[in-house]
């Protein structure tokens, strides 16, 4: 079930990023999609039942710890991606501000200097 939610979220975001005409909405869609993937990582790393955080308690047998702890690797990926996401937000926001300064609008339908 959580996987289906992630799939729906990611597809809506890809759709919005491609077909919305507002640049800011496009940007939000891309970052929501990154969040959907973060969620996917967390779900994959999580264990249902009596899961413990990935910090080994004193005196516990490592193999027993490995069988009940949640996966720290997924957390590592998500933290890295969140930090990278910050750089993306900064880049795109700066560009959107410049677009607004030049064109007075952030609707892609009204920005027609170039023809791809």
């Amino acid at each position: 079930m959580p996987y289906v939610l992630v799939a729906i979220m990611a597809s809506i975001c890809i759709y919005a990023a491609l077909f919305k005409s507002n640049l800011f909405k496009k940007m939000l869609a891309i970052f929501l999609m990154t969040d959907a993937v973060n969620l996917l990582f967390i779900i994959q790393g999580y264990r249902l039942g009596n899961a413990i955080p990935p910090i080994i308690p004193p005196g516990m047998d490592p193999s027993e710890f490995a069988s009940i702890a949640v996966d720290p690797l997924a957390h590592y990926f998500v933290v890295t991606a969140v930090v990278i996401g910050l750089a993306e937000v900064a880049t795109l926001t700066a560009l959107i501000i410049y677009t607004y300064k030049h064109y007075g609008t952030i609707e892609t339908k009204k920005i027609k200097e170039l023809r791809g």
Partner: protein, 519 residues
Amino acid sequence: MNPLLFQAPILAMLLCLLGSFLCVLLGMIMGRRAVELLSGAMTATTVLLSSLALINVYLLEGPYVYYMGGWPPPVGIPYVIDRFSVPLSLVVSVIFFATMVYSVRYLEKDRDVKWYYSLRFLMQAGMYGLLFTGDMFHIFVMLELMGLSAILLVPFRKEVKAAVEAGIKYGIYDILAISIYYLSTAMIFGMFGSMTIAEISAKLGGYVSPFSGGMFADPSALPVIVALVVWSFAIGAAIVPQHFWLPDAHSMAPSSISAILSGLLVQVNIAVLARILYDGFAAGSHPGGAVGLQLLVILGVASSLVGASFMLVQSDIKRLIAYSTITNLGFIAIGLGVGTSLGVSAAYLHIVNHAFVKASLFMIAGVFIHATGSREIGALRGISKALPGTSLLYTIGTLAAIGFPPLSMFWSKLLLLLSVLSAGGAYQYLVLPMVVSIVFESIAQIRLLAVIYSGEKREVNCHPSLPVILSIGIMISIIVVTGLMPGLLLEFGHLAADDLVNVSGYVDLVLKSFNYPAP
């Protein structure tokens, strides 16, 4: 092993990261001359380090794996220094050095050049990382490093309206592409439980890892992941139908950046895709990975045809060269997708040759635009009488681009056609669309040459300075010299294709620290 030779490729990358920091610092304290000197010296050192790495891999030690931070894979990030990645890293260094020499005079009138040099260094570091890495998640990080600096460099002249528009267009699509790649890494993590490229292909062959065990899920869903990866890299490498950002971004960027974008960035993207498909998803043997190759062939044919036909109707010199990039990327995709050893080595040579040719064409187009003050092809009438030397260099570059016999791209195009013909089956009919697009491309390029050599002598705003001519001369002489030594070129391509296509060799190399194959 000599520690300097062993660490040379990683030192080159670390030097770029350091240079990016120092450029901004020096620019704030000492001004632009210091920044230019520093980045010139550092780029020259990266050329030296990459050459050392090439000598080491080809003549002394052979391919090896560098463990980042001393952690062997699959725990840490492996940097695979083999005969596929090292020559490409030398190409990256040389083109960055040539454009460095070029930009000193080219950007004379621009302000805030410290950011320009700083971002260039970040992009170079990202390219080294992408070429060497053996880890799927590290590819994501390095794509961001390379992509974000490229996105910010396209609208470097931020007072130009169209440059900002090209930048935001490129920004949105490139970041979307990277996000789609991030989605596919999550799915790979769910299916294989590992991000090391070598472990993925080993697990497809039934390997049980001492850390993450065997496969987590049935590999029947692999084509979905492969399609997502191909999609994301097709946006990055501007393969039709995801090409629409490329002509805008490449034509609106400063010419020194266009040279890097068109000569390196798209090529690095497709080289990484080849690495993932062949060594990660075992495209040569596993049916799931082979889907990626078929996709590449289909998209490549579309790409070469669309790019070549759009070249015929362009009136802007930089857009014409940008569409030529799309055409040639289509050829590279076809060569990689055919999947034979000959096809891969032809595609590899085409990557290298096209990088030099396209970078030099964009650099000369920058000189023409400065001289005439216009990007229109019509404005170039009579330029050959005013700037005879530059026009001669441009002619050599164009002849190389259309595959005129003794020049470098002739050999790779010939090999591509031969590989398609020898692949047999339905693939041999691909020779028809390829020949059609080569003919279209030649018509468009020769029409441009005819404009340059027609008309009366005209006035020009400025003549190119010596460093600019020198940097273009380096590139053109590389094109001529490599074209005159096809034997050496073929040898390089053959060895690179060997290292790429031979999956078991790659897996042995990367995983040998854990006694692969495990009992």
